[in-house]
Structures are given as C-alpha cells and as structure tokens.
Symmetry: C2
Subunit: 798 residues, 2 copies
C-alpha cells in the first residue's frame, strides 16, 4: 500500500458521496468537491464554499418555522464538462458498463486522478483519464484534464465545457427546509475565443464571485483548433464543440479555471481579473509542476512520519492534507477562521465553532504566520462580541458559539431531530466555553512564537476582554464563600438543562469553571508581558480597573468545582443525582447509539436525565493540561488535587460516554496515553477512521470533521511526544505506544525549526540555525539548553 495515496480500485455508486468528501481538493482559498465531473450538476452537487462561513443565518418566526437562510458563499460548478460520441448519450458512470476503474488521490502532489475503461450501449469501448488539482501556489487557479481514448471505434465526439452558477446546496438532508439557492446571475460571456466567464453574486451579502474557464483541445499532444458554439442561460455558460476522434488516439481536453471574488485584494473587478489571469497562465503541465513543487515544500515541514504502518501513515497524511487544503498561506489575506467541516462540507454551513482548539496546535508549530492571521478573525469581531456581552448583561467580550461573517451569534434557535421530525429549541449558544478556547489559542500562539508585537497589538486585548466576560459570568455565593457559574452548557451537548427545569443551562460545569480560572490567570500573565506604557494604555482603553483585576484574584482562589464519589469531578453540579443509563439495553435495541439524544427525544425521553455524555467534558481538562498544571490550578482554587484521581475520572467518564462527537475519541485517546498506552493507541486508530470510514454512518459526506482530523495528528505531535509549552520552555516527555516504532516530525518553535525523532528507546532533537537564540528544553523536569545547530539525545526507556 502506498502511504501517500488514497486509492479506490472499484466504482461504488453508494459510496460516491463519501469519496467525494474525502477527495475534495482545495488550497485554503478555493475548494472543489465532486468525483464525477462528467455528471450533470443536478445529479451531484459541487458546492465548494470558499469563504468564511456564516453568510448564513437561520431565523425562525414565532411559530418556529424557518423563514430565512442567508448566503453561504458558493462558487459555480466549474468541473461540469460533458462528452458523448455524436448522437450517443452523454457519458454517465451510472449507465455504462465499467470494465475497470481506478481513482486515486495523490496527496504528495495534491492531484486527483481517475482512469475508467467502459463500454457503452453501442459497444464502443473507451478509456477515460481524468486529472485535476486546485493550485496550491496560485490560489486563483484550478485545472482539469480529460483524456479520451477510443479503443474500438472512431468518430466525432461532442464536448461541453461549462460553468454552472445555478447550483444549489443540497448536501445535507436535514437542511432541506432552508433556502438552498445562494447565487444570483450578474453576467457572463466570451472573453477570448477559448475563454468564457461567469459572474454571479450572493443574495444577501452581494459578494461577487467570478469564474473564467479556458478550454483547449490536444490530439496526441498537439493543440488543435475547434469551432466553439456558445451556450448561455442565466447563471450558466458553456462552450460546445466537436472533435474528430480516431481509434487508439488520445484526445485531451484541458480546462484551466480561475476564480476571483469581490472581497479579494489586489484586483480591479473580479470578472476582469479572472479573465486576465487566464491570459497569463500556462498549460496543465506547467501549472501542475509549480503546484506539485508547493506541496513538496509543504510536506517537508508538515509531514509526520511513523514506521511500518502504511494505512495509519496514509490516513494521517489525509488528515494533514485536508488541514492544509482548508487553511494555508492562501488564507492569510482572507478574513476567516477554521470551519468545523472544512469549506466544502455544507454541514454547519461553514460556521466557526471551537474546533480551532484542536487545529491550531498543528499550525502554530509549522505556519505560525497563518495562525496569526486566523486569530485576527477573532480580533476583528471583538467589538461585536463586546456588544453581545453588553446585551446579555455581562462585561468584556462574549464570543458566539457559532461565528460567521459579522461575528454575531449564528447558532440556530431550533434544530431538527430527523428521527422524530420535531423542531426543538437549541440551547447550544450557552456553550460559553468557546471564549476560553479563544483565549487558550491566543496564548498557545504566543508561547510557541514569542510574538510580542502580536500580543501588544491584538492578543492581550482579546484575552483581557474574555477574562472580563468570564469573570462577570461568575456569581459569588456568600454561603459557601465561593464563586459559581450558573446556567451554561459544557462541551457535552447531551446536557443543556436540568431534567424538568424550565430554564436551559447547568450550574458549575467543571470544564467551564476551571477554564475560567485558567483564563483569569493567563490574563494577568499576558498583561505583565506588555511594556508598562502599553499596559497602561490598554487598561485605559478597555476601562479595566485594578479593583477588577483584584476580583479576578479572588475568583481564582474561590472558584467552585463540584466533586462526587470520592475524587470524581462532577461534570456539573447535580450530575451525581442523575440516573445511570442502560447502555447495554440501548445498544442492543439500536446498535449505533452515538446520537442518543435523538433516540431518546424520539422516545419522549431526554439525555438530560442520565449520566450519559455525547462527548468528553470533564476529560477535556486532562486533554488540555498536564497533571502538574492541573495540580497548580486546583491548588490555586483551594482544592487538593491528587494526580491519582486522573485515571479514576477517565475510567468513570469513559463508561458514560456515547462518543457522539468525533472529537471525543481524540480526547479519550489523549487522556489514556499516560495510563493505558494500548487503550490510547486503539482509540487513536478508531479516531483515525472517523472520516475515511465514516464511522458516524453518513456525516462525512456532509463534510469532513476537521477538528477530529487535526486532533489525530496532534496526538502524535503533542501527546505521544509529550510536547508542551509553558514558562518559555519547550517541554518534551515522550511516551509512545507499542504500535508506534518510530515517530519523526519537525516543529517550529520561537523562530527555529527542530527535528524530532523518537523511537521506543530514544528521543533526539536537533535545532536549526535560523534564529541565533538558545532554547530551553525541559525533559522530565530537568532543564537543558539547545543552541542552534545542536542535537540533544535522551534515553526514554527509563
């Protein structure tokens, strides 16, 4: 098995939509989906959203019906290229006899290709070879090449090379009631003999989206002229032409496409720029060379290598590949965060949640200039979040659970349970912990880059305003002399209120409370990093008084965390009073119970009644913090924290979790890494299968799960290596499972690159010479220094 290639050697119509999601191509600006470019646009959709989601807003009227669903920025389907022997049927994989089939996603060079031999109803045998890529080095370009080889016939072939802006979003079954048509035609036309263009506009935001296509024909490598007939309808344009095909002589159709949007920088007008770009663009081969070179450079720093396990290696690369396709250098000038389902998945409509918490650790250590840009997505919405806090009666900045174009809360107010057909109130906006995730991301970026300029200009202000919001979320309980956080949701979406309660929200969610303490402490640290003048100015700007910081100290020392059963951290106050769930009974009855919430609701019951979690909640604490860090946090809060309770808590919650979120396995694998290496490795391998095997049975075709993909990579990167950043040191403490015989990776830390090589016995780390500074390395509580160019070796068996 080639560990660089996702390969399918058969054609399975039932698997097409899953493969489509897995074989998506993109470059951080422009993504395209679809394994069947020859199909009609209305058979398989190619939504290819390209910009920050959330041009999408679901509103409900009083009766709870969906009344509005605004723009998700789409692009016209540029893949649509049909052919047929004159007088025959348009080629369609579903209606021909397939003699052989091979589809491969070559991740090393970022190219998708497919070779099909087929026989049509007239007994014509033909080989069809398709290749396509979305250019990694020039974000505005993509290319498709179709080669047709008649094997037992000659004759005229009719070709239609189109761009279709009449496409709709129909990839998610349960969104059917929402508006699916987001583009309105503006204009289209022929620019040159071989160049056509299409300009459309989004309905609500009026973003203009332009595509241009240059179609050329080659016979045996020689370009030939063809007579092109224009085909134009509102929002649709094509060129149609005939080619004289000769038996056994390959005919190649080359379609180079450019894509510009009105928000782009360095353009005059998108349609004009799209056409101009094609006038200065080479052929498929020339474009591909530069594209493959870019991937080659990317892989050098982004690959994570393991030994002796081709399938694991291949899936890891698939996950890295999807990350780099979703965000890359090309994303830097866009105003985007990282969407939960990539850009091409329609699920969650491109919204930004807290998944960045799982994604940024990988990017921070390789392309920090990218994370910096992605964090600015949040900074630009700081003002909007201040307004949200104010409107909700809090101080500081309240970032939304689901974030879109303008930073307001985009969470749906109702959601559909497909099992019961009922629209239910959605309280997930109460997941205030997204704010802690943002502060955490800012601080991790700083720890790994030492970018003081960023912190002084943007980062510290965000952390302070989040700290302020979280502190105003607490209330002081005089009776117990402790601070509490009432009426919120933790990450676990099975619990949004107390059983039988009217009001949504839970009290003292342990994850939220501990993260609040972490944020408050970090805010004070961040403030002290600033020079005194900037510190003074920033405090004046946001009107933060010393007394407020004094109150933070008080909250740090008196935050409430609830325990039960001798050392179990209660997921929230009252968790222990909930009923135990009949796991065995339900698994027997339903088989897959990942979406237990939907099952119970359809039965007239609710997950709120049970000790049953959709995903890790308390366990997130062990995911984000080491035992030492937790010990310190709990000590600050005035609680004893015996590291021995960690495995006890893991065991407790592991038994009570349905893993209804793909992020769950990541957390479980991670938290088991120290205590149960085999268990960790097994869950890691399960997490690896999340998308490639669509283990949720149908969610992957709605879009890959980027947080889970990044999470698996990060288990290798940070968990098994024990890499962590605090106190201005790089911490290392590998503990690798038996299944892993070697782990090799590169990370960029504070300006220098480090090569890290781990075997079951040894750890070696080598520093590059980029920045002339000494790096402090902490290995198992001892501090070492590494100079540029040096290598340190550690024995890790002991």
């Amino acid at each position: 098995m080639n560990n660089w290639t996702l390969l399918y050697e058969d054609f399975k119509p039932s698997m097409e939509s899953l493969r489509e999601a897995l074989c998506t191509l993109g470059n951080g600006y422009f993504a395209t989906r679809g394994t069947s470019p020859e199909s009609e646009a209305d058979e398989i959709h190619y939504p290819g959203t390209y910009l920050a989601g959330g041009y999408n807003r679901l509103k409900t009227d009083i009766a709870g019906r969906v009344v509005e669903n605004e723009d998700l920025v789409n692009m016209p389907n540029w893949l649509l290229t049909k052919f047929r022997p004159e007088g025959g049927d348009w080629f369609n994989l579903m209606t021909v006899d397939i003699l052989s089939y091979r589809q491969e996603l070559n991740m090393k060079e970022g190219i998708l290709s497919r070779t099909v031999r087929f026989r049509d109803r007239q007994n014509r045998e033909t080989t069809l070879i398709q290749r396509r890529f979305v250019h990694m080095a020039n974000m505005h370009l993509a290319a498709l090449e179709i080669t047709i080889i008649p094997e037992n016939w000659s004759g005229r072939i009719q070709i239609l090379s189109a761009m279709d802006g009449t496409i709709i979003n129909a990839g998610v079954e349960r969104y059917k009631q929402l508006n699916s048509k987001h583009l309105a035609p503006v204009k289209s036309g022929k620019a040159d003999n071989d160049i056509i263009y299409l300009l459309v506009e989004t309905n609500q935001s009026h973003i203009r989206v332009a595509e241009a296509a240059r179609t050329r024909v080659y016979i045996e490598g020689e370009q030939i002229e063809v007579e092109r007939k224009p085909v134009e309808e509102p929002g649709y344009i094509a060129q149609e032409f005939f080619i004289e095909a000769v038996n056994n002589t390959p005919v190649t159709i080359e379609k180079i496409v450019s894509f510009y949007a009105s928000k782009d920088f360095a353009i005059s007008e998108p349609a004009q720029d799209a056409v101009e770009a094609l006038r200065h663009t080479g052929n498929f081969k020339e474009l591909f060379e530069r594209h493959a070179m870019e991937w080659n450079h990317l892989w050098y720093k982004c690959d994570i290598q393991i030994a002796d396990n081709d399938r694991t290696q291949m899936i890891l690369r698939l996950h890295i590949f999807h990350m780099l396709q979703t965000v890359s250098r090309n994303s830097i000038d866009l105003d985007i965060g990282v969407p939960a389902r990539g850009w091409h998945g329609e699920a969650y409509r491109g919204h930004i949640f807290w998944d960045e918490l799982f994604i940024f650790p990988y990017l921070n250590l390789r392309i920090p200039v990218l994370t910096r840009a992605l964090l600015l997505y949040r900074y630009r919405r700081l003002n909007r979040s201040r307004i949200a806090a104010q409107e909700a009666g809090f101080r500081g900045a309240l970032y939304p659970w689901q974030s879109g174009s303008d930073g307001r809360e985009e969470t749906q107010q109702l959601h559909l349970n497909p099992k019961s057909g009922r629209w239910l109130p959605d309280n997930t906006h109460l997941q205030r912990h997204v704010n802690a995730a943002i502060a955490y991301n800012v601080w991790q970026y700083f720890e790994t880059t030492e970018d003081l300029e960023f912190m002084a200009t943007y980062g510290t202000e965000m952390i302070l305003e989040i700290a302020r919001f979280l502190s105003s979320l607490t209330s002081y309980n005089r009776e117990i002399d402790r601070y509490e956080i009432l009426g919120v949701m933790g990450p676990d979406e099975y619990h949004d209120k107390y059983p039988d309660a009217e009001k949504p929200g839970l009290n003292n969610n342990a994850y939220t409370n501990v993260m609040t303490v972490w944020v408050l402490r970090t805010a004070i640290k961040a403030l002290n990093k600033l020079n005194p003048k900037r510190r003074y100015d920033l405090l004046e700007i946001i009107g933060l008084e010393k007394t407020e910081i004094g109150q933070w100290q008080d909250i740090i020392h008196k935050m409430k965390v609830v325990f039960h059963d001798d050392g179990i951290i209660s997921q929230f106050e009252g968790y222990n009073e909930l009923a135990e769930f009949d796991w065995d009974g339900y698994i027997k009855k339903y088989g897959d119970i990942q979406r237990l919430d939907r099952i119970l609701e359809a039965e007239g019951d609710t997950t709120n009644r049970y000790k049953a979690s959709k995903q890790a909640d308390v366990l997130m604490l062990f995911y984000l913090f080491s035992a030492e860090e937790l010990h310190e946090l709990f000590k600050e809060m005035g609680y004893d924290f015996d590291p021995q309770i960690i495995p006890k808590n893991i065991e407790y919650y592991l038994k009570r979790c349905s893993n209804g979120s793909t992020l769950s396995n990541i957390v479980l694998s991670w938290v088991l890494a120290r205590s149960d290496r085999t268990g960790s490795w097994n869950i890691f391998n399960k997490a690896l299968e999340s998308d490639i095997s669509d283990i949720q049975g149908g969610t992957t075709h709605e879009g890959i799960h980027l947080g889970a993909m990044a999470g698996t990579v990060d288990i290798l990167q940070q968990c098994y290596t024990g890499i962590a950043f605090c106190d201005e040191m790089l911490h290392l403490n590998p503990k690798i499972p038996e299944g892993l015989q070697r782990l090799m990776l590169k990370i960029k830390y504070r300006g220098n690159w480090f090569d890290i090589n781990i075997t079951p016995d040894a750890l070696a780390i080598t520093s590059s010479k980029e920045r002339d500074i000494i790096t402090k390395i902490c290995f198992r509580e001892k501090i070492y220094e590494i100079k540029p160019g040096d290598t340190l070796n550690f024995d890790i068996k002991v």
Copy 2:
C-alpha cells in the same frame, strides 16, 4: 502660539481650499475634507477617498484623447448639514457679515472646530460652533456637532441633515477632461426614526460604499424629539426638521456617521453594518473621549519634540498628524500602500509612487506592524509585476511607477501642460528606480524589526525578484568591460530623453545604477538570512540558479557610473554635454520657475537640453547612504570614492536644481546636514513650509504632499540624530543645527523602545524592558551594548 494647534482667526475665502486640505481629518481608513459643512456640496467638494488609489486608470485612444478614467473610490459627502431661520437663506459664510471667526485644528485630540459670529441680512446675530472628528479608535465612525446660539432673536430654524453621493471629483483643474463622477446610487432609506442610510457603488470596480447618519437635537443639553421629513433623490438622502430656537439658548445638532465598504472585513453587508453600528454607538461626547484617548496614546510614541520653536514644532506635528491620519492601525486590514497625496487629495488620483521611501522610516520605528501591512500591498502585486517584467522583455518583477488596485502600470501615457494646453507623451513609467525603493523599504523594515518570519514568507522573495529584474535591465558592454543600464529615467523628471532623440530614456543614470548594485548585494544578504531549506525552496520557486547569482556578483563589480569635471557623478551619461541653463534670466522673466518643464515646453524648448533638474537625483545617493556605505558600494564597483567629493557634488547639483518637487528640499537639507548645518536648517525650514504655506502656489489644495511631510520629520529623526541601521546595529551620530536646542523622540528598534534625548552637547539613550535582549549601539564607529532598562550617555560636542 500653541504648538498643538493649527489656528486661523480670520475667514479668507481665497484661502479656503488650502485650509481645507490642511484641515482634513482621517483615521487611515476614512478621510474627510472640507471646512464648510454648511455649504452646498456643489460649491465645495468633499471627495474623501478612502481606499487604495488606482481604481483610476487613464487611457488614451490613438488620437491621444482621453477615453476612460475609471473609479477613484469616493465616499458620499456626509458633512452636508444646512440650516436657516424659517423663511431665510440657508446659512452661507459667503453671504453673511462675519463678526468674528476662529478655526482650529487641535492635533493633540484630532478635532477640528470653528466658531463664527455672524449677522444675516435680517440683522439676526448668531453664534455658530462646529466641532468634528473622524474616529481614530473606531475606523467606521465620524461625528459632527453644530451648535447654534441666537443672540438677538428667537424663532424656528430649519435643519437639513444629508448624505450626498452625487458628489464629483473636481479638485484638480487639469483633470477636468477626465470623468469626475465615480459613484452610482444603489439604495437609500430610513432605518430608524433618527437613522438614514445611503448605499452607492463605484462604476468600474463595483465596490459598494455605505454610509449611515444618526441625527439628534439637543437644547441646553437635553435631547428633544423633532418631526423629520424625508428628502430622497437618487444617490442623495436627507432628513429635514424644524427647531424652535430661543434667544441665547444653544441648540445643538449632533450627527454621527458610520461608513462601511463591501471590501471590509467582519461585515455582513455594508449598509446593514453601517446602520447596526449606529445603533450601538454613544453620543458625541462619549465617542470623542475614546477618540482623544487614542490620539493621546499615539502621540506618546509618535511625537518628536524640539525646544523653543513653537511654529516649527506645530508644523512638525501637523506633518505627523497627516501621516497618522493617512495610515494607522486602521489601515492594516486594507490592501493599501501610502499614496503620494494622502487619501483626500485628488492629485495623482490616489496612486502609489515611490514616496514610501520617505514615509516608511518614520513608521518602521513606531508602528512596525503597520509597515508590515503596507509592504504586503507590494507583495500581493508581485505576480502582476512578474507579468509586467515578462511583457517588457525582462526577468523578475517590474513594479510600476504608478500603482493602483490591481498592480498594473497606472502611469498616464499623456499629460497636459496647462501652460501650453498641449497633451504630451509621458515617459515617467521609465522610472525603474521605484523597484529599488521597494527593495530598500523591505530591507529597512527588516533591519529595524528583525522580523525573520516576514522575510522568509514575503520579503526576501520581493527583494530577489526585484534584483533579478534590475540585473536583467543591465547590458554588458564588452568594449569597456562594464555593465550599463540604458533607456531609463532617474528621479529627475526634467530629463526623460536625450535632446533630439526619438526614443525616450537615458543611459546610466547614476542613481539607478548605484541602487541596482545596492539591491543585488542586499538580495544576496537577504538570501543568506534564510534557513537553508527555505532558501533552497525559494530559489526553486522562482527558478533562480546559482549562475544568475554569479552574474549578480559580476554586475556588482562592473557596474558603470559616469563621472565628469573631476569627481562629479554625472546624473546620467552625456549630462556633461548638456547646455548650462540661464537660471537668472528665467527667474527674472518668470519669477517662479519650479515648473521649468512647462515653461520651456510652452516656449517650444525642453528641459532635456539643459543641466537643469526638477529635483535631486544624484543627491539621492547621499540621502540614502552614509559616506561609509557609499565608499563601500563604489569600492565594490571598482571606483575610487573620496568622501570629499560629496560636498563638491552637493554644491554642483544644488546650483542646477529648480526644486520643482517638494521632495527636493528634504534631500537637500539632509545632504547638507554634515557639511553646512546652517544651510541644512534653512532648507529644512523651507521644506516645513511646503504645504502649510503652499509654496508651490496651488498644489496643496489638490492634496498635501505626504512624502515631503514625512521627509521633514525624518530629517529630525534620522538625519540630525545620525540614526542608521546596518550590520544589526543601531547607529547614532547626532549633528544638530544651531537652531535646534533640544530634540527628543522615541523609537522602537527590534522590539524595544528607546528614548532619545539630544542637546547640542549630549546624547542620552534609554532602553525599555519589553524584550530581554542586548542591543548593539554604534556611536562614531565604536560599539556599545545597551541592556533593557539601561541608559547610555554620550558627549557629542567633540
């Protein structure tokens, strides 16, 4: 005299357009001009361009007529607020008796105010107080407050609060033949009772521009309700209402305006966002407090203080004020460079030239995160510049002389001589030296910030591609075994070809040739700063071979520079053969001969025939480089360079320069600083007057000269202090003129702030503690080290 205030205590209609330019308000995103908000829009124009220029393209057909002039992004005039006593005339400064008048631009707090007492034709006496600002801390907001105090009457006052998108660009007389109307109406309406909005779109680029205005009325500080009548025309919207005014009782109209464009980040749709912003915005006083705070913080780091000279201090601050209004933190997310005339001046249509060379040194040392963003304007146009190089037959990247939205060459092909009425070919696009300026700016940014991440990601690639272009611009002359650059223009625009030559361009312009050598050497230096892998990748990406770098070395050693008259660097080859110009005769005949080119052309002659320069050309070398640096450069080229020739060259060219460019005095003052301190100080003071006294007699009202403004500031900052950056050291060598008794400034160098205090006797420098690094300081060739928190003192008398 208050050295923070530009004050006018009289009303001079003839000076209005000049004052309008000088009193422009802006915040780096949104600029507004106009001292007379009460006037009709068609009397005085308020163009207020807000985005990177160059949405503007002058094309000529074969007959040389102007056929197209594309968009200059304008904003609707939001200042338009008229009033009149019921039945009377709309208030107009030109038609009332002015009893007293006071207009002041308070630069400390960024507010413009005016108090007028006047008597109308009905003998009503009234005091009018206006205040306005463009918000520095919230780039989308501006505010206008008008207080009317009837002094001998009571009665109804009619108010009209409008936004006018039908404005035209008519500020530059000689552009009259160009299209002046750039905005098309889209929609307008009332959002809330007191909020109206206007949405317009640019003609060619289809950028949408939205403004919303919230108008409120206060009597003696109490908000009152008024009945508003809508007034709507295409591209124009207003609210009209009446107020009952009582003698001696102030009536205040508060107009808060928001401005959004479709290219903005973090918005949904500009009109919607403009309205939303106003719903969450406080009153004039609240907005102003935060605005003044921002200016206060800015001034702390941006002020340059001198002793005992209030007028000089005030003008210096005016220059700093205009820089910070043109580019600021608010500009970072925009895709802009720094335009030659600010955003509000219509001259040069917002295009970006080489003036950044004079502007960035100030920004680098205070807001490096801003310079970084401004350099990205160039990086984003690197690809377009590669195409330009290719199309012109060169390698690498050829940046345009005038740059706009999409980075193509925007230089007009013809220009008008208003003196002769003739349209003449414009060859200024041959000023290839703009490329050297860009490379210089990138390198200076790196020297002052040590931002390796920027260099690895963007900077080095730009420098290399420019080096490559400049090297391909050279041709090897076998006869003399030297490289030459033929057919270009230097900075001096009086010479664009040899007299009687058909083809434009000159050979071996000294400035261009020496800068080419500097760029090639810097490219090699920059390459060596990268880590080996990135270096390898970058060379592969741009296809730069070792042999090409080898050829650079050859060019460095064999570049030709022409000398004449024993040590005079010839401005270009053949300069010495030109006729001497009759300066006295022409001064006697014409008085002002700054635009000698126009005078001679109108006489049927040409400046190409004479040893006469519009501006410094050879002298630029002494401006950019120290004697030591020049010595090294010339040595590399195989020329002896005796530092004694510097004053000789200065004297020679000083005599042959008409100073037709405002940048000229900057260079002259700078190059004289070491040899003729009094002369330097006198020219510096002349340069200071460029705009405030409109010394070119009419060009300032077309827009301030930002390069010249920045240049004067930089003379204090870098020239009189002797601050320079090379070999990773901060060089200091003050030489201050007698007119200057004290000079105090702050600079940010490689992450730490330094306080610098210079008197005629002593230099003191103190380091902040932001970054824990030791800085090397070179004072008069000796190297010192300064630790965070330390102060070094030097005796500079000796």
